[in-house]
């Protein structure tokens, strides 16, 4: 008897299986006494097991807990408010969006090449990703340390199921925008049920989470789609994030922060959702989610390294408020004129890297990156584990055979001493230093620096010191579990660098091929933004995300204060939720007792001005080798505009920001469901060359199913 037949017999004996399957087994039992005997035995055993399990002692809640639940159940269910499109269009005073864009020349040749390659390799890479999922899918959810010997037997039926491309994404996107809007109109009605007309079958999965008529089958199957293993619950660490609150313009007219082009948080959130788990709120950095996606911002003209675009529209989660988007676009680099690269890869080869999505992915990533370089560039490989060592001396990037061979020889084993390895890598970078080049250490690790130098402060100081000498740091985080998010981000920030989380080959391609220029070439460093709001137009504001990038207002003009680096062609997007004067504002504070009345939050500091500008964006940056900063100022006059009239990029990015706030548990978006956000993001997918936006829609559906 084949193993799959045995599984089927068990299923039959336990009353499982589709009618067709059951009929087939029943027919077989009539002619196969051995199989009939097996079914009888299984039934007898199942009955015995059920009886014994019923006899197990059980516990209940405490009386106190029961009382709390009773009290909660006596309260009426929450108010039903969905995205209020009707109201929104009514608020004329509300609308306006800000887009600052910094532009420049494109690294045309490389980009063209990458686009072509991307298109060709897309199908292959999907298969590649699926194989990775396949290797993970049998991990048990709660005890990853134990792995049963069942891989060979169970994969075939599962593969059929799991490897089928998720049709929901395409179907959902194909749902006409009109029907999505129509549905939202219905949804904004507090009483009538939401009708699912015009939505593709895949969208049913969302509805299941709302208690709609969707059958169990549609969502049960949905959860089967991604069966990555659950991350180990206790090995990951995230620094706590306190969401930004509303600031009164009268009190705090200036908002200052450092740019952040990191995207690691998004990839990490994706990993959680695909594994069937909501990410912990502290793992969610809204700005990193928003900045994950490419946007079509116009590049800068002339000599400035940035274009600044400001756009505003009604805020989708608070129609009385406006959402202001500030977008920076860095100029791109010409393939011919880009500086030569001196790249030192520092690779963690400790035992923890010995997983399919760690060291093997590092190898593929390095080989991918090496192919973006040419004879002008130098590649060095250093490894660290119990000991650190150089495995490839500085080698011209055109010598791919040598580089590939060295990469292939990497093996994982031993414990991790991150500190010693970093010293070695920086020493190597200094020895092959290119005065006019891009000198960079690329750290590839799962972040588990648990042996050797563990003093984060000392390590961070060392990296900051080297950044001042012109050697920057890029950190690539690999793998799942054991993932030290806060530490990796701190290190890359100290090194004037960027940080990406690579969880699949497609992510490696996005970071290292599609956006190689941005990852590797800085066009500006210490990029800071300061927004001054006009109290005559704006009563209060809050910055969405960037919680750990906030600066004091004095830091803006202080060239000694470090800030984020912007890579060639990179874009940065920030949203402000703005309360226009006249709209209902967040509650103010009492007048101060011991301060002059001028400090009073409700009284304008001076005679109201009649300037129509909402705000002025001030930007400071340094060229990569410069010590003194330069400043750009862009004033912005908000315009009344409904959210639906905003640009495609604006609406999509706003959807991502909303989903981010929801994942953070931000109270302002509690009335929205993930499927609402999916509906408006789906209407703003646009051309979506890398397929990243469609993937996001899939994640929203996962979140909708997972959120109670």
């Amino acid at each position: 008897m084949k193993p799959s037949d045995e599984v089927q017999l068990t299923a039959y004996a336990l009353g499982e299986g589709t009618p067709a399957e059951r009929a087939a087994v029943a027919a077989r039992l009539r002619t196969d006494p051995a199989a009939q005997a097996a079914v009888d035995e299984i039934r007898a055993f199942a009955a015995q097991l059920a009886t014994e399990l019923q006899g197990e002692p059980d516990i209940g809640l405490t009386d106190d807990q029961r009382r709390r639940i009773r009290e909660a159940s006596a309260r009426p269910a929450g108010r039903l408010v969905r995205f209020p499109w009707r109201r929104l269009t009514g608020f004329a005073a509300v609308a306006a969006v800000v887009t600052l864009v910094f532009g420049g020349t494109l690294w045309h040749a490389a980009k063209q090449l990458l686009d072509d390659r991307f298109a060709k390799s897309r199908e292959a890479s999907i298969a590649c990703e699926m194989v990775e999922v396949d290797e993970q899918q049998l991990d048990e959810l709660l005890a990853p340390a134990e792995r049963p010997d069942m891989v060979d037997v169970v994969t075939p039926p599962d593969l059929d199921w799991d490897m089928a491309p998720p049709p929901q994404v395409e179907d959902f996107c194909a749902a006409p925008a009109a029907s999505a809007v129509a549905e939202l109109n219905v949804a904004s009605d507090a009483i009538s049920p939401i009708v699912m007309k015009g939505l593709a079958p895949g969208a049913m999965a969302n509805r299941a989470s709302r208690g709609r008529a969707a059958s169990l089958g549609s969502y049960g199957g949905r959860w089967g789609l991604y069966s990555e293993s659950m991350p180990p619950a206790n090995a990951e660490s995230y620094a706590p994030i306190q969401g930004n609150t509303f600031k009164q313009v009268a009190n705090e007219p200036l908002s200052t922060f450092s740019i952040d082009v990191d995207t690691a948080s998004y990839a990490n959130i994706r990993r959680f959702l695909r594994a069937g788990q909501m990410p912990p709120p502290d793992a969610v950095r809204v700005e990193e989610m928003v900045n994950y996606f490419p946007y079509d911002y116009a590049p800068p003209k002339g000599q400035t390294p940035f274009a600044v675009h400001v756009e505003s529209a009604a805020c989708p989660w608070a129609p009385d408020h406006a959402l202001v988007r500030i977008a920076l676009k860095g100029k791109s680099l010409d393939a011919e004129r880009r500086p030569p690269c001196n790249l030192v890869f520092l690779i963690d080869v400790s035992g923890s890297m010995d997983e399919p999505n760690k060291l093997p992915l590092v190898k593929k990533s390095i080989q991918l990156l090496a192919r973006q370089l040419d004879a002008r560039d130098r590649v060095t490989l250093a490894v660290y584990a119990g000991a650190a060592g150089l495995v490839l001396p500085p080698t011209p990037a055109s010598d791919l055979a040598t580089i590939d061979a060295a990469v292939e020889n990497l093996r994982a084993g031993g414990s991790t001493a991150g500190g010693a390895g970093i010293r070695l890598a920086y020493d190597a970078a200094r020895q092959s230093f290119l005065p006019d080049g891009n000198n960079r250490v690329v750290l590839c690790t799962d972040g588990d620096f648990n042996v050797g130098i563990v003093d984060s402060e000392e390590l961070a100081g060392f990296i900051a010191d080297r950044a001042k000498q012109g050697i920057f740091l890029t950190v690539l985080g690999f793998g799942m579990g054991n993932y030290k998010d806060d530490r990796l981000e701190t290190l890359s920030n100290k090194g004037n660098g960027n940080y990406a989380y690579v969880d699949s080959f497609s992510e490696a391609r996005k970071v290292l091929a599609e956006q190689a220029a941005g990852t590797l070439f800085a066009i500006a460093k210490d990029v800071k933004l300061q927004i001054e709001f006009n109290p005559a137009q704006v009563s209060s504001y809050r910055l969405v995300g960037y919680e750990n990038r906030l600066l004091a207002k004095e830091d803006f003009n202080d060239d000694k204060k470090d800030a984020g680096e912007l890579g060639a062609g990179h874009a940065v997007t920030a949203f402000y939720e703005v309360v226009p004067v006249g709209a209902e504002s967040a509650p103010g504070v009492d007048p101060l007792k011991y301060q002059p009345a001028a400090k009073e939050p409700t009284a304008p500091r001076e005679r109201a001005n009649d300037n129509p500008e909402w705000l002025t964006v001030k930007l400071r940056y340094k060229l990569p080798q410069a010590d003194r900063s330069e400043k750009i100022e862009v004033p912005f006059v908000g315009a009344a505009r409904p959210f639906a009239d905003a640009s495609t990029d604006f609406r999509f990015a706003a959807g991502v920001a909303t989903a981010g706030l929801m994942l953070r548990g931000d109270p302002s978006v509690m009335d929205l469901g993930f499927d609402d956000v999916a509906a408006w993001a789906a209407a703003a997918v646009g051309a979506d060359p890398g397929g990243h936006r469609r993937e996001f829609l899939g994640l929203l559906r996962d979140a909708a199913v997972l959120s109670p």
Binding site: L61, I69, A143, G224, D448, P708
Partner: protein, 178 residues
């Protein structure tokens, strides 16, 4: 995260909803506690997870009959995982530690020792890999279908079928040896 469930809740009058909730709590309180205890290995954590599950249900409103059990067990399971994570938020886990740290559930040997009344079969069940034991309990203790178990555990249905089959085979063989 979602504060309420739409139409069905809205169309119910408050007393009906409260009655429904009371019935659901009465029906699932002990099964959920039992399930949560198996996941966390700790009575207090189990009770906290179950209380939280019901509080979320209060906000979610009335569910269809067929969805109720999978929803409750699914949310409870996530709460247990969250609690386990919260308990040990910043612990660095080296490979060496990972190899010796027990799975989050009750320690099988300790469990067996404490429960002298537990039958041989239940002791053997406690020794199965955690995920096999979990799906077997969902099937035979909580009478869920493969499909429902798949919804609760995020496994595929065929995977659930396989795990239950293997678990039963192992238990039968072990039972036959004694």
């Amino acid at each position: 995260m979602r504060p309420e469930n739409p139409a069905p809740a809205a169309s119910e009058t408050p007393p009906d909803r409260a009655t429904w909730l009371e019935a659901v709590v009465a029906r699932y309180e002990r099964p959920l506690c039992q399930y949560a205890y198996r996941l966390t290995g700790n009575f207090d954590a189990a009770r906290d997870a179950v209380q939280d599950t019901f509080l979320r249900l209060c906000r979610a409103g009335v569910l269809e009959e067929a969805r109720t059990a999978p929803w409750l067990f699914r949310v409870c399971r996530n709460r247990c995982i969250d609690l386990l994570r919260k308990e040990r938020p910043m612990q660095p886990l080296t490979d060496a530690q990972a190899a010796v740290l027990p799975a989050p559930g009750p320690d099988p040997a300790e469990e067996a020792g404490r429960r002298e009344s537990a039958s041989l079969l239940l002791r053997k069940l406690a020794e199965l890999p955690a995920h096999q034991a979990e799906v077997i309990r969902l099937k035979f203790q909580h009478q869920m279908s493969y499909r429902e178990i798949a919804a609760v555990t995020a496994l595929s249905e065929s995977n659930v079928g396989y795990l239950i089959h293997v678990g039963i085979q192992t238990l039968r063989q072990q039972a036959a040896q004694f």
